[in-house]
């Protein structure tokens, strides 16, 4: 019983890394451009299908798709922001929400047209069955560990980027005060596109990791978006490590819920989310008022 509980805890914790990665792109765009990307989950699923296509066409190991799909998604994100979203982002919250809602529908239907409604998964070969034994009789799959490590590395990399690079500082500046950024000689429309490129990069990473971990189908995006929202809100906005903790809490809740009854996996996650929203609306690690 205790071992089973501990197992659910560890699995949930590891899954939380992936949820945090879902959330990072969403909170980044909200933090920098102040817009809510309703198509973020569909970007993740699009990336998963791109990874699937790549693996099927070339026979490469799915992990190698991490080198191809995320940069491609980033380029797509940059272009999408310059050509489409920059036209609406500074006209308030609603137009951007409508445009990304439209994008979400377009991506889902495009995927449905090309790949059919069948659920897919990309086998990761030997990684799928490899596991390491932890003390206490818990076995942890190597794949979930790899996914968790990749997600934490990506979040750490983002944090470093925002603190220590010139572009990172400019992105924080544009988040603080977009009109003033022009006065220090920087082009905020370019910076918006860079922010979207980074968010799409995280969606690309998340999609490739997800395609090895679970089944996905063209309509799987909105559920990822919901997990991303929940992780962000549990963890608090503008705090990458809070987002990681939020993802882990969500993952643990789902893991334990699933052990009680398979139908309770999602319900348990939503209940913990509602509880945090009721008790700490700014999130467990948010708190700082702007």
């Amino acid at each position: 019983m205790i071992a089973e509980f501990a197992d659910a805890l560890v699995q949930g914790l590891l899954l939380g890394g992936l949820y945090a990665l879902f959330a990072a792109g969403l909170s980044l765009l909200f933090g920098i451009i102040r817009f809510v990307n309703l198509a973020h989950g569909d970007f993740i699923i699009l990336a998963a299908y791109l990874g699937l296509m790549l693996v099927e066409a070339t026979g490469l190991h799915p992990l190698l798709a991490l080198l191809v799909v995320p940069p491609f998604m980033a380029a797509l994100g940059y272009a999408g922001q310059r050509l489409l979203l920059n036209r609406v982002v500074e006209r308030g919250l609603l137009p951007a929400i409508l445009v990304t809602f439209g994008l979400s529908i377009i991506i889902q239907n495009l995927l449905l047209e090309v790949f059919s409604a069948n659920a897919r998964r990309v086998p990761a070969g030997a990684l799928d069955v490899a596991s390491v034994a932890l003390p206490g009789g818990i076995n942890v799959g190597v794949l979930p560990l790899v996914i968790f490590a990749a997600a934490v590395l990506a979040l750490g990399g983002l944090g470093w980027f925002f603190r220590h690079t010139m572009t990172g500082r400019l992105l924080r500046a544009v988040s603080d005060d977009p009109p003033i950024v022009g006065l220090i000689g920087a082009d905020r429309r370019h910076l918006f596109a860079v922010a979207t490129a980074i968010a799409a990069l995280t969606a690309g990473l998340a999609g490739v990791l997800l395609m090895m971990k679970t089944n996905f189908d063209p309509a799987a995006g909105p559920a990822r978006l919901l997990f991303a929202f929940e992780a962000v809100i549990i963890g608090g906005l503008r705090n990458l490590w809070g987002t990681l903790a939020g993802g882990m809490i969500l993952g643990i809740a789902q893991g334990i819920g699933a052990r009680i009854d398979p139908g309770w996996q999602l319900l348990a996650g939503h209940l913990v989310f509602l509880l945090v929203l009721a008790v700490r609306p700014r999130g467990l690690f948010g708190g700082r008022r702007r």
């Binding site: 010139m166 500082r169 400019l170 924080r172 500046a173 988040s175 603080d176 005060d177 009109p179 003033i180 950024v181 022009g182 006065l183 220090i184 000689g185 920087a186 082009d187 702007r290």
Partner: protein
């Protein structure tokens, strides 16, 4: 040749002409003061000069180039910097980072140049001890200092100061004035909009008085300020 030349500049908001057919030219190294009652169009003029607002009519020529339609980032890179009446630092960036982004982009400096230059500006404005403090947590005088420091970090050729002495005590004001006088000695061209007239008159070479969007007087500071029409309109004096 004039560094800045403005002709027939107008900007309307609906039926209100906030800036109405304004023209002047400014030689390099001169310090120009602009005064006028609230709503005279001073801040709108700054917004037009920096490209934060598009003009309704007229032309702005800076260093021989027509910048009337240039975006603010391009003007900043050409050497125009401004401060705001209400300081607007990038709140989550440290004081040093606020300067650094300006030096690297508007100032077009290499990383090493920018680092040295920003360190010098921080020292000159007495902000060195606060270099690593997030700008959002500063008190008013330090925010004003940072506002000026960020503008200077870009090594501007033309500096626009918007009521930088407002809200400061006399001694704080004197301190800021010393810094601004030193700038002028360093040949930066300055346009300074100010309500604290005694601070302004002691520093400037030329005074423009605006009222209801128009320039109503332009000349040597003390003579211009003593003109009867200026005192009536500006001070509301019934002398």
């Amino acid at each position: 040749m004039a560094l800045l030349s403005v002709s027939h500049l107008s900007r309307s908001f609906g039926s209100l002409l906030a800036v109405n057919d304004v023209g002047f030219s400014l030689d390099e190294g001169v310090m120009l003061g602009i005064i006028g009652p609230n709503g005279a169009g001073k801040s709108t003029l700054f917004n037009l000069l920096t490209g934060m607002l598009p003009v309704s009519a007229g032309a702005i020529v800076f260093d021989g180039a027509d910048i009337t339609a240039a975006p603010s980032a391009a003007r900043a890179a050409m050497g125009i910097a401004r401060t705001f009446q209400i300081p607007q630092p990038f709140a989550t960036l440290s004081v040093y980072e606020n300067l650094l982004v300006a030096a690297r982009h508007a100032g077009r400096m290499s990383h090493a140049q920018a680092r040295d230059h920003c360190a010098a500006v921080l020292g000159r404005l007495g902000l060195r001890a606060l270099a690593d403090t997030p700008a959002g947590g500063l008190r008013l005088l330090d925010r004003k200092r940072l506002e000026l420091a960020r503008a200077l970090a870009a090594s501007p050729r033309l500096l626009l100061l918007d009521e930088i002495a407002g809200g400061l005590t006399d001694s704080e004001c004197a301190e800021l004035l010393a810094i601004i006088r030193a700038l002028r000695a360093g040949s930066v061209t300055i346009i300074w909009v100010e309500h604290v007239v005694h601070a302004l008159l002691s520093a400037i070479d030329r005074l423009i008085v605006m009222d209801a969007g128009r320039i109503i007087a332009d000349g040597p500071p003390h003579d211009t300020f003593q003109r009867r029409d200026v005192r009536e309109i500006y001070m509301g004096l019934d002398a």
